[in-house]
Symmetry: C2
Subunit: 205 residues, 2 copies
Amino acid sequence: MGRTSDAREKILAAAHSLMEMRGYSALGVAEICKTAGVPKGSFYYFFESKEALALAVLDEHWAEERIGWTRILNGDAEPLERLRQLFEATEARQRAGMESCGTVSGCMFGNLSLEMSNQAEAVRERLQEIFESQVEMIESVVAEAVLRGEATVTDTRAAARSVVAQFEGQVLFAKLYNSPSRLGAVWANSLALLGARPSPAPAGA
Amino acid sequence: MGRTSDAREKILAAAHSLMEMRGYSALGVAEICKTAGVPKGSFYYFFESKEALALAVLDEHWAEERIGWTRILNGDAEPLERLRQLFEATEARQRAGMESCGTVSGCMFGNLSLEMSNQAEAVRERLQEIFESQVEMIESVVAEAVLRGEATVTDTRAAARSVVAQFEGQVLFAKLYNSPSRLGAVWANSLALLGARPSPAPAGA
């Protein structure tokens, strides 16, 4: 076992990639530690339980993903164009995963919502918080688009929720058909859900 | 152990309700047999593996659900009204599950798509077939609506896929928030995705 901080990071990284591919219930602490290359005894030094580890993985995953979301959604492009860029980045990430691992792993938050939200209240609450953050971030872009007359929805919160729900549904099919191109409909559908019309392609696109 | 046919039915029924609540990976054959009240030894007389059981549960669940889908979608109402009735029936089923078990279990097909499609090729294929059937059934209603000038999409297959994806995404949130009312947005969103306008409420509604 390396420095203790190394061991914690190794456990987190191993759990992250295992959970991304295989969910939560299918994993055991022994397998996580073996993948991480740390003795099983050290697991409980860092994490109270497998559930505590899952929460840490979710936090870390959202902290990383949120950086990309913030960069894109606070960017200089027009509001709906930023939303389009966000979906494009997500599709690119699923495509990269497909090319490196041969499989579309989907959205870890959606995966765990369906696998675990009935079974672990703490995980359910954390996933709710993460999706609420996503909805808030998208809502602020939708509200900008509405102010500019580029979207016509009246309830921007509900519209942002519908955009995220539609996206999660398309990711489900991308995973089921192991095909990132299933995400191709996300953008046109989001425009429909926002009561927006397709804008001309941005300069340089 | 009762008659062999009873035992198989008992195993299927137990697996069905356990899988609905807790997915696949979290279950063991011993627990399924205990819930079914049949000796573990008899399991492998009926099912080659836990995966074979999962396929049988999926088939049975879709066979049952398909009866309701067919009844509603082949009904006498106008095409989009039949689609509305289908979503209403699904919301009612989630609400009934919530009232009897205290929890929204979501859509078993969506749940297993996210939990298992990367891990069991046979399950992935079966789920693809089920969702293709659903998309086909919805597409034929959408095509009718288009012919009547009540929907404006040009690619009816893609539109039907988007309606199903959007629905699965909303079911994900209904499960995550343990709230069937999250499905309330499904109908208006489907109209938006189909390029349709809300029609007047049907007589008697």
